[in-house]
């Protein structure tokens, strides 16, 4: 059975149908991409999956459980993590603290633990730090752990977001335009990183991206939506040759400009 199964998902804002009867499956251990024109409803799909928007109808089944009515924090708890299209770091906090936030849902010390400094609370704190450092190391910015997040260059801020998402120890990672604003070189590293995340950490990846070169290189299967409706799905070649996709999204120009 697929890790994530979206069935007839529909999201309406008043009269606007942002996502329309969308169905798709993400298999465990895969890298999948979602593309489509601006305003097609891609981010809305992520927002529904992570509980930020409440879908009007349909069903989303994650690891065998429906997450239709679940709050964002519970969904994260179940093993889904996301990054944001416009960076949403804790800007005034250090990189380390940012990443430590990911461990919140895997730990449980509360008031008593904090005030009494119990043994288990101390052990937990230690674990949180270890995991956070490990995740920072994984994305390659461990050396900047004590910087305040807002002082990092854009590219590094993106990495903090990835590390933070990884620290929640997810099964499924949703990346919303991770390459926006990155240059060539960084995009290449991003591809490498995504593969490592999948292979070394066994995390399934679901990606939204406008950089077609990157998308085609990294994902085995691509879904294309337009006006919230799925208009195509398949391998990068299939998608690229699909006339509907070319007309709605790619345009006539050559598009292999990435990487």
């Amino acid at each position: 059975m697929a890790l994530l199964d979206i069935k007839d998902l529909t999201l309406r804002f008043g009269g606007l149908c942002a996502v329309n009867q969308l169905s798709l499956e993400i298999e465990e251990g895969s890298i999948r991409s979602l593309i489509g024109p601006n305003g097609a409803g891609k981010t809305c799909v992520f927002n529904c999956l992570t509980g930020f928007y409440k879908p009007s109808s349909g069903d989303m089944v994650f690891m065998g459980t429906s997450i239709m009515k679940k709050k964002p924090h519970l969904i994260t708890h179940m093993g889904m993590a996301r990054t944001f299209q416009n960076l949403r770091l804790f800007k005034q906090m250090t990189v380390m603290e940012n990443v430590m936030s990911g461990m919140h849902c895997r730990t449980n010390a509360a008031f008593a633990g904090a005030v009494l400094r119990t043994q288990s609370q101390k052990a937990e704190e230690k674990l949180i730090r270890e995991i956070a450092e490990e995740c920072l190391d994984f994305v390659g910015i461990l050396d900047k752990k004590n910087y305040m997040a807002k002082n990092l260059p854009y590219g590094d801020q993106r990495r903090v977001e990835w590390a933070r998402a990884l620290a929640t120890q997810p099964k499924l990672l949703l990346l919303d335009e991770p390459a926006a604003g990155l240059n060539k070189e960084e995009k290449a590293r991003l591809i490498n990183l995504m593969r490592r995340i999948r292979d070394e950490r066994k995390v399934t990846i679901f990606l939204i991206e406008h950089d077609m070169g990157l998308v085609m290189k990294v994902s085995e299967k691509i879904f294309v939506i337009d006006y919230g409706v799925k208009i195509a799905e398949g391998t990068s070649k299939e998608v690229r040759d699909n006339p509907r996709v070319v007309e709605a999204y790619l345009g006539k120009e050559e598009t292999e400009d990435a990487v």
């Binding site: 981010t43 927002n47 930020f52 944001f84 299209q85 416009n86 949403r88 919303d176």
Partner: protein, 304 residues
């Protein structure tokens, strides 16, 4: 009094008080709308306005008397004066704080409030002052409604001021600029908007309207006092929130609604006037729970 008379009377009372609330609430809302500041000093601006009106009317009395002509001239002069006071306060205490954390500017507002309030306290030695006018309070009836000329004129004046403001906001670029500044100050600068000038205008208008309300209250109630702003400040603030804070028509509507609500709420036997403010605040809380953005407020829609 029959129930019908009480109803009519309270309807009118509610509208009149509500329009005072509305005038003060507009200032809260405008300032909140443009720089997201809960301007604690606004209630004291209202109070200062009343005192300015009293003093100016005293000066004018020998020349043009203290009936409607005198009152109107005094009203206009003190609106200008207090408007300028508002601008000056803005310049000294708020503008340097625009980049600071939002709660810090709340504290400077508080400091300004304390300064204004205590200055008037010192000057009046804490005494109530009579606001003497040459108006008579002879009453007449409109149907079953007992009415005085003063009340009628004040209500009309308050509504007219609100209407003028509404036109100013909707018919000129200033209104749009104010809303835009509220949304994003930096981008406004990139549109060639002199943000500080617009903020200053906002303070001028808001303060002038509060002053107008203060003077009207003085004329209507006949006394002024350094403490007079406090409660109406709280109420107007509430009205602004009910209407959807930052939204100017909302403030007017919220003010009127609150005035009516209080007028009728206190006539419910169980509530009575000792529970009036409890009633107001319970209503406010319930209202916000069910309509978190106020009457005219929109859900802020943010994209992830």
């Amino acid at each position: 009094m029959t129930t019908w008379e009480i109803f009519l009377q309270q309807l009118f009372n509610g509208l009149l008080v509500g329009s005072f609330y509305g005038l003060v609430a507009i200032g809260y809302s405008m300032v909140y709308g443009i720089i997201k500041l809960l301007n604690f000093a606004h209630a004291d601006i209202y109070m200062s306005g009343a005192f300015a009106g009293l003093i100016i009317l005293g000066f004018l009395n020998p020349y043009i008397g203290n009936q409607w002509l005198g009152i109107i001239v005094a009203l206009l002069l003190s609106m200008i004066l207090v408007g300028l006071l508002g601008v000056a306060i803005q310049r000294v205490a708020y503008r340097p704080m625009l980049k600071a954390p939002r709660l810090s500017i709340l504290i400077t507002a508080l400091a300004v409030s304390m300064i204004l309030y205590n200055t008037v306290l010192l000057m009046t030695q804490g005494q109530y002052k009579p606001f003497t006018t040459g108006l008579t309070h002879e009453s007449f009836y409109i149907g079953a409604l007992r009415m005085t000329e003063t009340r009628l004129v004040l209500l009309i004046a308050a509504l007219a001021l609100m209407l003028m403001l509404h036109l100013f906001i909707t018919r000129t670029m200033y209104g749009k600029a104010m809303r835009a500044i509220a949304l994003d100050r930096d981008t406004c600068q990139l549109m060639g908007i002199n943000v500080y000038k617009i903020i200053a205008i906002t303070f001028f208008v808001g303060s002038a309207l509060a002053a107008a309300a203060g003077i009207m209250a003085g004329v209507y109630y006949g006394t002024v006092h350094f403490f007079m702003g406090f409660l109406i400040g709280l109420k107007a603030f509430t009205a602004a929130v009910i209407g959807g804070i930052g939204i100017i028509p909302g403030a007017m509507l919220g003010g009127l609604l609150l005035g009516l609500l209080e007028a009728f709420g206190t006539q419910i036997p169980f509530i009575g006037s000792s529970w009036r403010d409890v009633f107001t605040f319970v209503f406010l809380i319930l209202f916000l729970i069910f309509k978190p953005n106020g009457l005219l407020g929109r859900m802020e829609s943010e994209r992830m």
